[in-house]
């Protein structure tokens, strides 16, 4: 039998029928929906007289435009409230389970799927959101789709797809202290570029990946879309199984052993051939900070901001020039000389309990620098409760952070959490595009520990020498 990659195994096990030529109809195991990209899909269903084929495999939450100050749809603003009400009405009409703002487990769709055990190895998972790649951390094919495709999945529980190319990203060795999965994925994107993964599904492997927790693996797969990859995935292992055991929607006791046996078959065969392979030594990765306006414009915190002339590609050089202007920085400047106005710790990339623990460890007993607005937005109700039970919330509040309700928040500023024009933000989110966090906002992507340290110091700091530089003990 021909050797297969993990992606190919899962893809082939989901082929319902060959549509024509190179297009297959694939079955979808989980369809996650939210308020922003679903209303037109439900309207389309209604117009065509169709219904939701498998409401039992469809799960809805409210996350993108909810207020993080008050757990009420009335606090979201008029047009957002209407969109949230539309989701509630659609879910009711089509019998789709909804975690609304009154539900204790409501949260960011890519945080709650895993923590409820909805996300499992070997599945195909889709959602009208590009960061659906997060769920690939469990060894599932998970990717974002548009609203027309949401409508297609609602109607048929399938999607027309073509086989993607395969990219192997091997991270060897082990991570240095203070270097997190966020730094790893930013370094990978820096090397491959924002389009380096176009047309590929990336599989992350190697000892550094094996050593990561599920939270870390989710952060890694979450940002695989930022290099253009259709999806990112990691073969499941004991860490995956241990995470899932006992989760509300995980396989029940009578099926658990059979499920694990199946999951253990989900790996790329030793002699499987990938279309492209990249190997990175974990030891070479330092804490990363983006300096520009796309995620490939990234450097280690101790590197100078690059000069446009240093790019041999003329188009990249031009992009660098524009980015420096937009970001209000100059070539050769040190990141550690840049003052921050806002710090945002949250988003589907970095709002899980482990992220909050890392941030709390940095800020404990210290104060947010004066003039800095610092927000912590937990990814879900569960994360929030756990952080409060562990005393993390008290640490944050005592340090001067705002402790918020779950939601996407300042990652994309669809609610009222925005970065003002010209303000500089250290953000644990995933995109530093122009205007992403608000018109004119200047976003620097970092890990939770780096963001926390920036809040205390009032400027970017190298987390690996944070204590020794005094870290804002004022």
């Amino acid at each position: 039998m021909m050797a297969k990659t993990l992606y190919q195994k899962i893809y082939q096990s989901h082929v319902v029928a060959a549509v024509n030529g190179s297009t297959d109809l694939l079955f979808v195991d989980r369809h996650l929906i939210h308020e922003v990209t679903s209303p037109q899909a439900f309207a389309g269903l209604r117009k065509a007289g169709r219904t939701v084929r498998r409401p039992d495999l469809t799960y809805a939450t409210m996350d993108h435009n909810v207020s993080t100050q008050l757990r009420s749809i009335d606090a979201a603003g008029e047009t957002s409230r209407k969109q949230l009400e539309a989701l509630a009405a659609n879910c009711k009409e089509f019998n789709v389970p909804l975690l609304d703002l009154l539900h204790p487990d409501q949260g960011i769709v890519h945080v709650i799927g895993p923590e409820l055990g909805l996300t499992q190895p070997g599945m195909i998972i889709v959602c009208g959101d590009s960061h659906t790649s997060t769920h690939g951390a469990f060894g599932a094919i998970a990717f974002g789709i548009g609203t027309s495709e949401v409508e297609h999945v609602l109607a048929t529980q399938t999607l027309q797809q073509q086989v993607a190319k395969t990219l192997k990203v091997e991270v060897t060795g082990s991570l240095s202290p203070f270097v997190t999965p966020k730094d790893v994925i930013m370094a990978v994107i820096g090397q491959l570029g924002t389009a380096g993964g176009n047309g590929y599904v990336a599989e992350f492997c190697g000892t550094a990946i094996r050593g990561m927790s599920m939270e870390g693996r989710m952060t890694l797969c979450n940002m695989s879309i930022e290099m253009g990859a259709k999806a990112g995935l990691i073969a499941p292992d004991e860490v995956t199984f241990a995470y899932l055991k006992g989760k509300p929607h995980a396989p029940k006791a009578e099926h658990w052993d059979a499920a694990v046996t199946y999951w253990q078959s989900l790996y790329s065969d030793a002699d499987a051939v990938f279309d492209k392979t990249v190997t990175i030594a974990a030891e070479n990765i330092r804490p990363q900070v983006t300096w520009g306006t796309n995620p490939e414009q990234v450097i280690a915190v101790d590197q100078p901001i690059p000069a446009p002339e240093s790019f041999s590609d003329l188009i990249k050089a031009d992009a660098a020039r524009r980015a420096l202007t937009y970001m209000g920085i100059e070539a050769g400047q040190k990141l550690t000389d840049l003052k921050v106005d806002v710090v945002f710790i949250g988003s589907c990339t970095n709002s899980r309990i482990e992220d909050l623990r890392q941030a709390a460890a940095v800020v404990q007993g210290k104060q947010v620098a004066s003039g800095v607005r610092a927000l912590i937005v937990p990814g879900s109700g569960q994360v929030k409760r756990q952080a409060e039970a562990e005393g993390l919330a008290d640490i944050f509040k005592a340090s001067g952070f705002e402790w918020r309700e779950p939601g996407c928040s300042m990652c994309l500023g669809m609610n009222d959490d925005r970065v003002e024009s010209g303000q500089r933000c250290a953000s644990t989110s995933n995109r530093n595009f122009e205007g992403r966090q608000g018109r004119g906002s200047r976003t620097h992507l970092v890990s939770p520990a780096m963001a926390a340290a920036a809040a205390i110091a009032g400027r970017f700091v190298d987390i690996s020498s944070f204590e020794s530089v005094g870290g804002g003990n004022q």
Partner: protein, 200 residues
């Protein structure tokens, strides 16, 4: 046989990595409608902070008013999965985008709205931009023959996936097409429930 899929004025947007946050900023995503996004297209570039048109942005240039073919560079449409991006582009009047490459989700979303996205080599893209520098361009897109007809006997050929080409030419409803496999879906569901009962 030549079949003209589209024809019209070309607007050159000389940028790489145009992301969906630029194509349509977040404040326009709270709508529950599929319509009404033309004004939102490239909002932050197209309008100044005082909401007056930005005279420096190419879409506002008098010679490109009424353009229906967008020419741009690599990795167009990267970022979010928002289908509002192709909706805005199409509702503004573009039904064809020519670029060196496109982000995957944006590509699928555009095709699902009947738009034609053409990928060309960097050198061909460079050539087309140089034509635009010589003066405004009106091109015809021959989808069946897979060529961009530039006029004066000049044309640039392009590759397209045969399944996508067929869909665009036939205008087939893709949900309807998949529904024809209803029996296959039912039998897959039965087999799935038997083999992996924990999946629900």
């Amino acid at each position: 046989m030549s079949q003209i899929f589209a024809q019209g004025l070309v607007c050159p947007l000389d940028k790489n990595n145009v992301d969906t946050d630029q194509i349509i900023p977040k404040q326009f995503l709270t709508s529950v409608s599929r319509e009404g996004f033309a004004e939102a297209l490239f909002y932050d570039w197209r309008y100044l902070a005082n909401e007056q048109p930005n005279p420096d942005f190419v879409l506002n240039a008098p010679q490109y008013q009424g353009a229906s073919i967008l020419l741009t560079r690599a990795n167009f449409g990267c970022g979010s999965s928002r289908e509002h991006a192709p909706w805005a582009i199409q509702q503004y009047g573009f039904n064809v985008i020519i670029a060196e490459s496109f982000a995957d989700i944006f590509f699928n979303n555009s095709i699902n709205n009947g738009m034609l996205l053409i990928s060309l080599s960097a050198s061909n893209i460079e050539f087309l931009f140089s034509r635009c520098q010589q003066g405004t361009q009106e091109w015809k897109i021959d989808l069946a023959g897979q060529q961009i007809i530039l006029g004066n006997n000049a044309a640039v050929g392009f590759q397209i996936d045969p399944d996508i080409k067929q869909r665009l030419l036939s205008g087939l409803d893709f949900i309807g097409a998949s529904e024809q496999f209803a029996e296959h879906i039912s039998s897959y569901e039965q087999q799935r429930a038997a083999a992996h009962p924990w999946l629900g």
